[in-house]
């Protein structure tokens, strides 16, 4: 075996005898090259046996024959934790090499590795790769690369530690030192082996930054309780939290292993770890695509449409909503699980949005389809516009997550223009409203409007009305166009909100005023980029 040298022999023999698989043996011998790990399991077993047989130190031929399954008896005995594997001094007992039983029949079946519990055994092989790829293909995702993420049961860390302590003791005897960092990590070796196979089968490269994630969760219920001793040794690592099903998470176990002293560890956990009966199982194979973002601008022509669904006590108060009318078609095309709608500010149910419309962005969660040409987006925009006369969208396009920031900037900083239909109790003449046109940069003090005070903190907002333009209609009506700072409550500026917005149209005209209609004429944000629609 070219990857292993004579120097490694004692470790190889030791781990082999305790029931460790070839790839884990490589790891503990610090075999850093990927190639040996990728070779088929059967070949590795064969060559390892050869390696152990050709022991230049041993002269007694009898020992060679039984070198193969000498640990079988030990495996049979070690199906549970054996504290008496340690003698009184906490030193590991030497494991007998000689075994008189005929074990030829057993040698064909694959024994479960006592360190990786099968992860580096059957879960590297073709059958498992095929199973994963079949799941991926049937899920019908569009992707150009993948990231493969693996969740291992926490007890693997415990077993790894036990194996390391065993190996460390042995190398110590030989006058060599072995640092934990020199050992090849299980996950790393696993990815060396499985990535190329997945990549070949799926036809796309593995990429750590890929948005398409294939994740597998492994479990080994048989040994789940092996972590429990850590809770008594390091209780503060294991605090129950609301979200966690079990308190023994991988993070918590790793943390506890860092804290626990060697002697305490060996007291509670067998070194070497016992051989389990069963392999790990792959609990779930799931696929997930990173979110895509679609932006655009919407016009709202209905005075009876909320932005988000209006549901009180489970009862829908008004039919549909802006976000549903837009998202419905996107969800269908992108085949996403769910969506998050956000916009640069919003308007009331009874307010129309005219002009260029209001910028919005929709996050589509876990979309199956991610590639759309400009043409396809245009067609999608047309579909949305054909489906409803209450809303219309424009400039529909794919954007990045970072771009959303531009939209939210608009909410705080940019100006908006409005058109309001105002009613007054006492009669007005043209001259009475003309002076409003001359008021520039009018400062307002607006207390939180009563209509939102139940869900907003009480505060005073200072806002500016940049310009106004009045259009006299009759003795009790006029239209007012305004350009205001973002965040100005227009309705309250007109009717005064019990005098809590000062000044207001009523106070300026010395009458009681009310707002009959409000339209948003423009939202002055230059995002998303205008497309030639």
């Amino acid at each position: 075996m070219s990857s292993l040298t004579e120097k490694d022999r004692p470790i190889v023999q030791l781990l082999w005898n305790t029931g460790t698989c070839p790839r884990c043996i490589f790891r503990f011998c610090c075999v850093g090259s990927q190639t040996p790990y990728k070779r088929p399991y059967k070949d590795l077993m064969k060559e390892l046996k050869e390696f152990l047989k050709n022991n230049p130190e041993k002269e007694d031929a009898v020992c060679f024959e039984v070198a193969d399954p000498p640990c079988k008896r030990i495996r049979l005995e070690n199906t549970e934790e054996r504290p008496d594997d340690l003698n009184q001094n906490g030193v590991l007992k030497p494991i007998p090499l000689v075994n008189e039983e005929n074990t030829a029949l057993e040698s064909s079946a694959v024994k479960v590795c006592n360190v990786c519990l099968g992860i580096l055994q059957e879960f590297c092989e073709v059958d498992f790769v095929k199973k994963v790829c079949q799941k991926v293909k049937s899920a019908d995702y569009q992707f150009t690369s993948f990231v493969f993420s693996v969740s291992l049961p926490p007890q693997l860390s415990v077993r790894e530690r036990a194996a390391w302590l065993l190996v460390k003791q042995e190398t110590g005897k030989l006058g060599l030192s072995l640092a934990k960092d020199d050992i090849v990590q299980l996950k790393e070796a696993y990815k060396w082996i499985i990535h190329p196979q997945l990549s070949e089968e799926l036809g796309v490269p593995a990429d750590g930054k890929s948005l398409f994630e294939v994740s597998v969760v492994f479990a080994h219920p048989e040994t789940d309780e092996e972590c429990h001793f850590l809770a008594t040794a390091c209780p503060d690592c294991f605090k129950p939290a609301k979200n966690k099903q079990s308190v023994f998470t991988r993070m918590a176990v790793v943390k506890a292993l860092e804290k626990i002293k060697e002697e305490d560890f060996c007291k509670h956990f067998p070194c070497p770890p016992s051989s389990p009966k069963n392999f790990c199982v792959a609990l779930e194979i799931q696929c997930n695509n990173g979110a895509v973002f679609v932006a655009g601008r919407y016009n709202k022509y209905s005075r009876n449409l909320p932005q988000t669904p209006w549901i009180i006590d489970g009862e829908r108060k008004l039919e549909s909503s802006v976000e549903e009318l837009i998202s419905e078609h996107l969800m269908a095309e992108f085949k996403a699980d769910s969506f998050n709608f956000s916009s640069s500010g919003r308007e009331d149910v009874d307010v129309r949005t005219l002009g260029n419309g209001r910028p919005f962005a929709i996050e589509l969660v876990n979309p199956r389809r991610i590639h759309f040409t400009a043409e396809e987006m245009k067609r999608l925009q047309q579909t949305i516009n054909n489906s409803s006369d209450k809303i219309q969208v424009r400039d529909l396009q794919l954007v990045t997550r970072e771009a959303i920031g531009h939209m939210k900037e608009g909410e705080e900083e940019k100006t908006k223009t409005y058109s309001a239909l105002v009613w007054t109790d006492k009669a007005i003449q043209k001259e009475d409203v003309a002076f409003l046109d001359d008021l520039k940069e009018l400062k307002l003090d607006q207390k939180t409007p009563l209509r939102v005070l139940h869900r907003r903190p009480l505060a005073v907002r200072h806002r500016i009305i940049h310009t106004m333009k009045s259009e006299y209609i009759d003795e009790h009506h006029f239209r007012l166009h305004l350009k205001t700072q973002a965040g100005t409550y227009i309705k309250e500026f007109v009717h005064g909100d019990f005098g809590r917005t000062k000044p207001n149209i009523g106070s300026l005209l010395n009458r009681t005023a009310d707002i009959l209609e409000l339209d948003v004429e423009s939202v002055d944000v230059d995002w998303p980029p205008t497309l030639d629609n």
């Binding site: 009613w423 209509r451 005070l453 869900r455 903190p457 005064g496 005098g499 009681t512 009310d514 009959l516």
Partner: protein, 170 residues
């Protein structure tokens, strides 16, 4: 969006509490918004709103330890608000003819704010009692919001009370 009552009180339902504390005609009107917020105001029959009455002073200091002006609320849940019961006084108003009137909360809930505008300009209390001349804004507890109107009269019921007063005095 037609102007029914005209102005800010469009979305409010009017509830009444007449003859509070047995004092004749000291009626209050609670404007209840659909979002649970309530505005406490004087009803039109209140002596302070009758012809010839001039307000001399309005005082939010209702006891040695408690001034409604000190009320400070923070956050969405209005923490720190003074809690009011139905007969908690909001302010005391003196008229120039020597009469003294106490304005009561009429409902249970957290005091959000009292109207400081009427301190500077008592006239608006009389000119626009149902809007700019409001006394206070109160937010009942969520669980109690449906019950607060139990002790109050609807517009119709109040009109009957007014009718009875008219008939009994004639």
């Amino acid at each position: 969006m037609a102007a029914a009552q005209g102005g800010a009180e469009r979305y409010f339902t009017r509830w009444y509490k007449p003859d509070v504390k047995g004092r004749l005609c000291e009626d209050f009107c609670v404007l209840q918004h659909s979002n649970r917020i309530c505005v406490i105001t004087l009803a039109e029959a209140h002596p302070l709103l009758q012809n010839g009455k001039t307000i001399k002073s309005i005082n939010y200091q209702i006891s040695a330890n408690c001034s409604r002006l000190q009320n400070k609320v923070s956050g969405k849940s209005k923490r720190g608000a003074q809690f009011l019961t139905e007969l908690a006084p909001l302010c005391r108003i003196s008229s120039s003819d020597g009469e003294k009137y106490t304005i009561y909360s009429c409902i249970r809930g957290r005091l959000i704010e009292v109207n400081e505008n009427i301190l500077n300009n008592p006239a608006i209390l009389q000119e626009k009692p149902s809007t700019e001349g409001y006394i206070a804004v109160v937010l009942p507890k969520f669980e109690e919001s449906k019950n607060i109107t139990q002790g109050l009269l609807t517009q119709k019921e109040y009109e009957e009370v007014l009718l009875k007063r008219l008939n009994s005095s004639s």
